[in-house]
Symmetry: C2
Subunit: 359 residues, 2 copies
């Protein structure tokens, strides 16, 4: 598997050598990642990168440093692939952080520079950061009736006590040996995950429960996508009635502008929203748990309302308008006011049975 | 086990009923948690709470609300113990968040109020938050040659692929079935953990590796303490050469002012610092990776220098002074500049062999 990846990086190097042999100014084609080159594909329902690209030249005062940075991270990645090792973004930064000989210029001064070079390399090589063997902070845990093989170990996600399996930064090599589940429930909050685990919701409802801590890592997104694509499992997103909860759902489902080039391996166009809705607020009398929206919440809500993929969605527009009229958000945990196990014994089973999803 | 806890909460309730029966103003003794009542115990080497306490009365305008909040969380905890369930701090907040009948006053308006009431209840009942069955966000993962039993499952920490066991918020019920390790290595950074796991450092060095994400949860602290006390394993802390890295070590080892009452179940007086030192910086030529200290770093450093437990420690004072003269910090990941696996193949094995710890 890593052979294919090594070949691609060698190709990149050989192309540059060819330029040099021909006495040409060495160059790399780098797809453009600005908003102008990001579009929503109505057919695939994903945010995707357009076809625009720009040439980056070695002999160009404006390009030279980025050119060097790109080759430096490619060289680290090639070394990692050769060793079959992975390295963290921060380690890659330190690996290439040195002074260019006979100058006092550093190849990189800040991690943001090597991070950008890695994102460029993803596009240039058509390999994901994970395939380049570069990792980020891991987060999140998973439980369910699933047996996997990973790094030589057989792991049963249903036999991990109260902890669950800690989701690594890269899940490319995970092999699913047995998947006995009807759907995947993803939630941002670790507390809600511990609730559902303790109540053995995953066993009663035959599902897989996955959580992070607020921000969804690429490792989690990739794991969800693989469960969806390889095992045809619906993905339900359990989030707050909150512009940020809606945003998390939006990124999971359609992808993000920032990582539009990674939609292919991460977007979940069939994900559904199973979080708190305006209708839940009425039905379960949650208005007393309103949290007043701030300026920043209204700004985010307005942005989301105007997203191309939500613009003509009547049901979502209804939710957005109701939130605007409430001027308030409601958290998933407010359901605890109706009893500690209300969420796992009544709220979720009923919503799932009646298929009350937002799409 | 939960019976003992239930008894303690019932006792608290019965004492109040007795007051009422005697027509006395109901009261609770609450140990004082301000700095004035926190002291460093030279013998146990732990930050501990003193013996000062104050009476909280029901019929006292200044006390009534806190009195009610304390009883409200005690009531939720009693319910949880009865059901043998756990609940997150946020869920406890929503469980008691309601209006006092015939008034427009809420029992709690913010989670900080129920959190404080829970900390008070820990002191009043002499039960830890975990024993009261109240959880917080979990974080961190662990790998090593250890077999545990948790919630009916047998879990082998050495057979969990690239993820490891996700550490739950509460580890009170974990039973250690087999512990085949010489020490525990705790690190704040998930990236370093993934490095050591992939290099099978834990197998080669016969150790247990534990990580969090910056902040060490109570669950992790408790797990480390249990491994230290029940299995006599030394705890080594792998952190940056940074006032914050030193602070993490200080809290782990001696406890914190905030949670002085929990030192008993969490402090690790025998922990040792295995992170980057001024000597490492010289030896491994890490000065080129200096990160300039900011005002906030100097303030924190000054605080730590004056901690009672560091004041007369010559070796630590030497480190503090060198940091002050460098006016710079150095991250553990800077070792990657000497090779991706330098940390696991050379740096750590050498330091451990030569026992180059700071105590």
């Amino acid at each position: 598997m890593t052979n294919k990846q090594l070949e691609k990086l060698k190709e990149l190097g050989n192309d540059i050598i060819k330029d040099i042999d021909k006495n040409k100014n060495p160059s790399i084609d780098v797809p453009i990642r600005t908003l102008a080159n990001v579009q929503f594909n109505q057919k695939t329902k994903k945010l995707e990168l357009g076809k625009k690209s720009a040439k980056r030249f070695f002999f160009n005062v404006g390009h030279a440093k980025k050119f060097l940075q790109t080759l430096a991270v490619a060289s680290v990645s090639k070394e990692l692939l050769g060793l079959d090792k992975n390295a963290h973004l921060r380690d890659v930064f330190y690996s290439i952080k040195r002074t260019i000989p006979n100058t006092d210029v550093n190849i990189v001064d800040e991690q943001s520079e090597s991070d950008k070079a890695i994102e460029d390399l993803e596009l240039i090589s058509d390999l994901s950061r994970e395939q380049l063997h570069i990792t980020a902070n891991k987060a999140g845990s998973v439980v369910g009736s699933v047996v996997i093989e990973d790094d030589g170990d057989i792991i049963d996600w249903s036999k991990l006590g109260s902890g669950g399996w800690s989701i690594p930064s890269t899940v490319e090599k995970v092999k699913f040996k047995k998947v006995n589940a009807k759907f995947v429930l993803y939630m941002e909050k670790a507390g809600t995950w511990e609730r559902l685990r303790e109540d053995r919701f995953w066993e009663k409802q035959k599902c897989i429960i996955v959580s992070s801590h607020g921000q969804t890592t690429r490792g989690i997104r990739r794991l969800l996508q693989r469960l969806n694509q390889e095992h045809n499992l619906p993905i339900y997103v359990l989030a707050d009635f909150d512009p940020w909860g809606f945003y998390i759902y939006s990124v999971l489902k359609f992808g993000s502008i920032n990582l539009a080039h990674a939609s292919e391996t991460m977007a979940l166009p069939k994900a559904k929203f199973l979080g708190i809705t305006a209708d839940d607020i009425e039905k379960y009398n949650l208005k007393k748990h309103f949290i007043k929206m701030k300026e920043i919440d209204f700004t985010r809500l307005k942005q989301i309302m105007n997203y191309e993929w939500f613009k003509n969605n009547k049901e979502w527009q209804r939710q957005f308008k109701l939130m605007n009229s409430y001027k308030a958000k409601v958290e998933i945990q407010s359901l605890s006011s109706r009893g500690i196990t209300f969420i796992s014994e009544k709220y979720l089973p009923e919503k799932i049975k009646e298929a009350k999803f937002l799409d």
